[in-house]
């Protein structure tokens, strides 16, 4: 055993590199974000809380079918309405419920929605959905989906009732570049 090896063995000199490394990290900028005071900005495509617009909805039920866990419940009925003096049959929405507590925010409903802009979208940047009551607070009826009563909206995102258009409502990513 050479002297150098002996010294390394006894004094653990091979560990100094690691100590040096951690000491250097002490000086670097900290990665912590002090959350309630400062929050990270979700990206435009971030899938968060639902926005819903009853005016845009054509009651096609595509979202209901697309939902893999079937948490969207839609009821509608046909109604005679006058459009430009002509009588037309139109689907009218009676019920549009989303059981948000079971939602996994996969965004397939938004992808399935055929209207432009989308009648349902998740790009609202809003993610603070914690509540004290599991059943009541996270079951959203049609009106509540639009008024966002009791939801802490992401600052800068107005509640969907104001006709807010999400940044990328249609998954138009393919056309974005063109």
């Amino acid at each position: 055993m050479s002297v150098r090896k002996l010294l390394t063995e006894v004094f653990h000199l091979d560990l100094l590199g690691g100590l040096w490394q951690t000491a250097r990290f002490t000086m670097t900028r900290k990665a912590t974000v002090p959350y309630p005071e400062k929050r990270l900005d979700p990206t435009p495509r971030f899938r968060g809380m639902f926005g819903f617009s009853e005016e845009r909805c054509i009651v096609c039920r595509a979202c209901e079918r697309a939902c893999p866990i079937r948490i969207i419940y839609i009821d509608g009925h046909l109604e005679e309405v006058e459009v430009d003096g002509k009588k037309r049959k139109k689907q009218v929405l009676d019920r549009y419920d989303i059981d948000v507590k079971r939602c996994m925010f996969c965004g397939l409903c938004q992808e399935a929605c055929p209207t432009t802009p989308k009648a349902i979208w998740l790009t609202t940047k809003t993610y603070e959905l914690a509540t004290y009551e599991r059943d009541l607070s996270l079951y959203f009826r049609k009106d509540r989906l639009q008024s966002w009563e009791g939801v802490v909206a992401y600052p800068g995102v107005v509640a969907p009732a104001d006709g807010q258009t999400p940044d990328d409502p249609g998954g138009t990513g393919g056309k974005e570049r063109g």
Binding site: E9, V10, H12, L19, Q21, T22, A23, F25, T26, T32
Partner: protein, 350 residues
């Protein structure tokens, strides 16, 4: 000032209260500094919410632990289970009765005569420290056994094995210092370093190295934190302890860290002496009170503890044993022989 009531009761009582309070507070705040520092090492902030920069965190923790439900496992051995925390905290605090924090002082003239800022100086204080601090192991073993939990039991057994293996090289490392100083009293050892014009770390670097590593192992700290290895034994011997009983184990661990650091300071780094006590041109350093020198040195060792924790993986049980018996024991013995020979040849520091 010759009233025996004052000399033998009042002064020691005041000292006991001050030291106990200071040590408990220091141990609590050590946990805060550890969390902060480890946080910094790990590019995060650590606790910074309670009070300014989180300085009230230990107090919040204490309140939380006080208000926690006191759980005793149904099939635990009650008496032993309850005595575990006592057995570990008492020796950890008793040891401080002989640690010399500084030379006798009259507190800038506040007191009529200089009194030493330590409780007592007994002529075998090194043995006292070694003996009493070894008692703490009973708290760990009995607590681990009485919890009626296999992980606790394994933690306790690991701790026992670890203590036995590391007490021996640690003792030999200290004997090297005793040879140089020629005394078992901690105060005399510091004074001997003043007279030798050198801290013992320079002639006894090997002894210091072995002492400190063994100290880390004895206090069950990373990378030798096997008795409470989180990934293996959940929480080791204190798995089943909660509330204040857990807090005692916690406090004792930090108090033991302070003991090991204080002993390293006294034995190898000249206690309260300033660096190079014989170099006259460094005399301007004397404006710093000796107690501050002492505390600064202890703090440096505590920083090393925390630094190690933030850096190293945990060694395995058999490697820990091998390191103690196969590396440190022979090296400390050889070191002892070398130092003894040198003292015989050159008259040593006496």
């Amino acid at each position: 000032m010759t009233n025996p009531w004052v000399v033998y009761l009042l002064v020691p009582m005041v000292k006991i209260v001050v030291i106990l309070g200071a040590i408990t507070l220091a141990a609590a705040y050590l946990s805060y500094f550890e969390r902060r520092l480890v946080g910094f090492l790990q590019i995060r902030l650590g606790p910074n919410r309670v009070g300014w920069q989180g300085v009230l965190q230990p107090i919040a923790d204490a309140l939380k632990l006080f208000s926690k439900e006191d759980i005793i496992p149904t099939r635990a051995e009650k008496l032993v289970y309850l005595s575990g925390p006592v057995l570990i905290i008492v020796p950890a605090l008793v040891v401080f009765s002989v640690i010399p924090f500084g030379p006798p002082t009259n507190l800038f003239g506040l007191l009529p005569q200089a009194i030493p800022p330590y409780l007592t100086d007994i002529n075998v204080s090194v043995l006292f420290v070694l003996g009493v601090s070894s008692f703490g192991i009973y708290g760990i073993i009995l607590g681990g056994w009485a919890s009626n939990n296999k992980f606790s039991l394994m933690g306790g057994l690991r701790s026992a094995a670890q203590l036995i293996s590391y007490e021996v090289p640690m003792g030999f490392a200290i004997v090297a210092v005793l040879l140089m100083a020629g005394s078992l009293s901690l105060v005399s050892i510091v004074e001997a370093q003043r007279q030798a014009h050198v801290w013992y770390v320079f002639p006894g670097f090997v002894a210091f190295f072995i002492y400190f590593i063994c100290g880390v192992a004895e206090t069950n700290r990373n990378p030798f934190d096997l008795p409470e290895a989180e990934a293996e034994l959940v929480a080791g011997f204190h798995t089943e302890y909660s509330g204040m009983k857990f807090a005692f184990y916690f406090l004792a661990e930090y108090a033991n860290m302070v003991v090991v650091s204080s002993m390293a300071t006294v034995l190898f780094f000249g206690g309260w002496l300033r660096p190079f006590p014989s170099w006259g041109w460094l005399g301007f350093l004397d404006v710093v009170p000796p107690v501050v020198w002492f505390l600064a040195k202890v703090a440096a060792f505590l920083y090393c503890y925390i630094w190690f924790r933030g850096t190293f993986p945990r060694v395995r049980f058999d490697q820990l044993m091998a390191l103690g018996w196969k590396v440190f024991l022979p090296v400390s013995l050889a070191n002892l022989m070398v130092i003894g020979t040198l003292i015989v040849l050159f008259g040593g520091g006496r």
